[in-house]
Every structure is written in C-alpha cells, then in structure tokens.
Amino acid sequence: MTPAISVTGLTRQYHGHLALDQVSLEVEAGSITGLLGRNGAGKTTLLRILAGQEFPSDGRVLIHGAPPAENEAVLRRLVFVREDQVYPDFKVRHALRVASWLYPHWSPELADGLLADFELPPGRAIKKLSRGMRSALGIVIGMAARADVTLFDEPYAGLDAVARQIFYDRLLAEYAEHPRTILLSTHLIDEAAGLLERVIVIDHGRVVLTAGADDLRGVATAVSGSVLAVDEFTAGRVVWDRRRVASQASVVVVGALDEADRAKARSLRLELAPLTLQQLVVHAAAQPADTLERTSA
C-alpha cells in the first residue's frame, strides 16, 4: 500500500541555515503519529512542506503517492492547522464557513459540537481571541474538515489542561469513527503519549528516531545506585546518560531488560525506572544519529 506520507532526502536550506537535512520518513495511512523535537528542530518546516506551503531545496515529498505542491487533487485531501495561522479579518463563523466550502467531507455537526466544547463564541472576531481560543479554532477546523491527511502543528498552544483533554478525547473519538492519517507535532509529549501510535523525533533538521510508541515503552531504563553496582550492571550495554553524585550514579540504559537483568539489578540493589516517552525524546535528541539506529531497529 502507498504510504499516506512519504518523504525522501528532504532538505530545506535558508540562507546557510539547514532547517531540514536529508529527512526521509514514511507515515502509513490511518495512523496517529507524533512529530516530536525541540524548538527549531524543523517540525514546522517539515509540515509546511508536506502541506505545500513551503518548497523543498532538495528531495521529494509524496502525499498518497503524489507531490503536494500546487496539486489540488492532493491538497484538497489535506488540512494543516498551525500554531501561528494567520486569518483574515474574520469572525470565527466566517472562518468555519469558508472551510466548509472547501472540504468535501466537512462536518457542520462536529464543528458545532467542538465550538460548544471549547466554549468558542462564533460571533467573536478572530483577532480578539486569546491565544488558547485561536488554537481551539484551529483544532475545530482541522477536525471538522475530516481530511484524509490532517497535519497539526502545536495545535494546543495556550490551551488549558481541560481544553487539552477535550482535544485528546474528541480526536480519539473522531479517529475511531472516521479514521484518517494524523501527524501531530507537540511539546507536551507525555500528555499526548497515550494518543500516539508512532513517533518521529527530529533534531537539528534530522530524523533521530522513528518507532512505534509501544516499542519505545521499556526501550530505555533509568538505572541508579552505587557507582560500582551501576558500572557492573551497565558493562557491555549502550548507555546514554551518565550522572554521578558522590558514590551514587544514575545512567540510562538502552535496550529492553529481561527477567535475568531485573534479578541482577535487584541483587545489586539498583533502582530501575522505565523512561517515559518524553524523557526518551529528551535523551534521543541529545544523541548522535548513529547510536539511535540500533535502538529504533
């Protein structure tokens, strides 16, 4: 099957600054993928190129097998909600009306339901909305469009915890009813972790990790205890992060641990704690790309 999103050797250069460096990745149709990485890692640039808003310096992007740039057959199946979306001098309902014309599968019921959930007044001028409210508007458009490929760039910047929970719940319910390909960039990794089936981590314009979210649980473990015990336990293993305070050491061990490993850790009186997705991403972003290929394989 053709992947929903296929990127090969994608490079984007701005006046000597390399925003994307030979990025290759695939996103299969009907999945929720998290695009994770630090500020300036290249997430927005990647999404803008996928949506045909920006042009690659080199490399190829295919959406359902066809290049998106100026290709309306592809673009019409795609919606891109970005954190810094610029709107005309519209009220909320104007923006929704225009979106409803342009998306063949637009759901007015869903849009109305989300407006109510987020307590977004349809008659309010968009420029008078708070940051969180603007984000909510983007979410309403992105979800109600029911586009085959839905790209969310930091969709909930400024949204409070309650509204974020509404977003997660409604997105999952929508996704169950109307499956589609969702690519979501976010900083709130642990919060979104339950939502994500796959994650792509990019750093300094390069993909440093792609994996199924389930595969990543338990792929790395924080090990702490006395320096000697830790050294004994980690001998021959891939270790990411090593901290030492007096006679105590704390490291991150890469690779799944089996029962024998755990028994050994117990006998050495070591503490084991699985890394959360967020911690994993923080560590992954700090590693040279080649160390990670072993873990994502």
Binding site: G52, R77, V79, D89, R97, V98
Partner: protein
C-alpha cells in the same frame, strides 16, 4: 472551477469592506462636493438677442477629483485580497494557482458591478443637470465623457486594472516584505523613467503626443486592458513561489 468560485466568495464573506466601504467613501466625497458647488454662485454672461440682453450661464467647469476615491479603493482591496487571505486559503488546501484565479475573478466581478453603478450614476448626473448644481462628479473630460457604454467599459477596465495592480503589490509584499515592495515601486518608476529617456533621446515626444491625442476613449481603454493583462501575468508569475 468550483474552487475559483469558492475563493471569489471567500473574499465576500465579510462583504462590507470590498462592497460597501468604497461607496461610503465615495458618497462622502460626493456630498462634500455637492455642498461646495451649491454654495458657489453660477457665473453668467450676457448675450444680445432679438429679445434684448439675455443672461446665459457660463459652461460649467464644476469638475471634481472625487471619483478617484473608488479607484484608490479598488487598489487597496486588491492589496488586501492577498495579505492575510492567502495564508488561510493555503491552509485550507487551495493551490496558489486557484487562489490567484479566484481572487482575480472576485476583482473582475467587483469592477463589473462598480463600473455599472458608476455608469448609472453618470446617467443620473446628466439627466439632472449635474445634481441641480451643474456638478460633474461622475464625468471626467476626455476619459469618461462619451456615451454610456464607453463610460461603462472604461470604468470597468480601469477598476479591474487597479485591483490587479493591488494584487501584485500584495503578493510582492507577501514574498519580500517592505523592502521588496519599495524595490517593486522603484522598478516601476525606473521603467517609466527609462521609457521617458528613450522617447527623449529619440526625439519622439511629438509622436507620443500624437498617439495620445489621436487615441479615442475606446483606444485608451484598450491600452488600459493590455496593461491590466500585463499586471495580471506579473502577479501570476510572482505568486507561484510565494510561501506562507
């Protein structure tokens, strides 16, 4: 086709700016002129006829520049139709090509309607003897003083020209910001300057004078239409690589 229509409608979702604001401004200008000319006494001269001396009103010279208001507004609406509208249009899966065609379509429709209204108002002006105060608000010597169909054609083409020019400005600003816009103006001025220099060196000014003197209002409209087509093509070429 559908997308073009949807984009044209997109520009009319909040209709008062493109549809009503230019007319409100024009109405203000009209009322100001009307009041002024109603205060200015009509000048007369006396003519000796078989009935003796008769007072005859001098030909009216009550021309105003007020009509320019609506043309300036079409330029502004053209600029505005790109600025904040293009990014949201592209976010909704519209190609630059469709956005441009749909926006130009909107401009042409707007110019068509406004041109028609201006023609009707000129007819009223003629029928009422210049709104009772011998004012030529909707009539401009040489350009807009012919039969109604020429008034309509010239108004329509000139309004569309201003809109298309504005679109190109909007796209240039989108791509290269303020610096690019200033450079864009500089290039246009330079083109005119170079043309003037070439005409001077070739001692061709009398020829240019004859060309324009010989040009009818219809011919002038043709020149404006050609210019509009040129600007339209320029905008199309500029939007191709615009990013948002």
């Amino acid at each position: 086709m559908r997308t073009w229509r949807d984009i044209a409608r997109y520009h009319l979702v909040v209709p008062w700016l493109p549809a009503a604001l230019p007319w409100a401004a024009l109405a203000l200008s009209f009322v100001v002129n009307l009041v002024i000319f109603s205060l200015v006494p009509t000048s007369y001269h006396e003519v000796l006829t078989s009935h003796g001396l008769v007072r005859v009103a001098n030909p009216s010279n009550n021309y105003t520049g007020g009509l320019a208001t609506i043309y300036v507004f079409l330029l502004v609406i053209g600029i505005n139709s790109i600025g904040r509208s293009l990014p949201f249009g592209l976010a909704l899966g519209v190609s630059r090509r469709s956005f441009y065609t749909g926006t130009a379509l909107f401009g042409v429709v707007l110019a068509f309607i406004d041109g028609t209204l201006l023609t009707a108002l000129q007819a009223i002006e003629r029928a009422t003897g210049g709104w009772g105060v011998r004012m030529h608000f909707f009539e401009v010597p040489y350009i807009l003083d012919g039969p109604w169909y020429l008034t309509w054609l010239t108004s329509f083409v000139a309004l569309a020209l201003l809109f298309v020019w504005g679109m190109w400005f909007g796209i240039v600003y989108r791509r290269w910001n303020l610096f690019g816009s200033v450079a864009f103006i500089a290039v246009q001025v330079t083109v005119l300057l170079v043309a003037a220099l070439i005409v001077s060196w070739a001692d061709a000014w009398p020829g240019v004078g004859h060309f324009f003197a010989g040009l009818t209002a219809a011919g002038l409209t043709g020149v404006l239409a050609a210019l509009a087509a040129l600007l339209l093509a320029g905008g199309q070429a500029t939007i191709r690589r615009a990013t948002v």
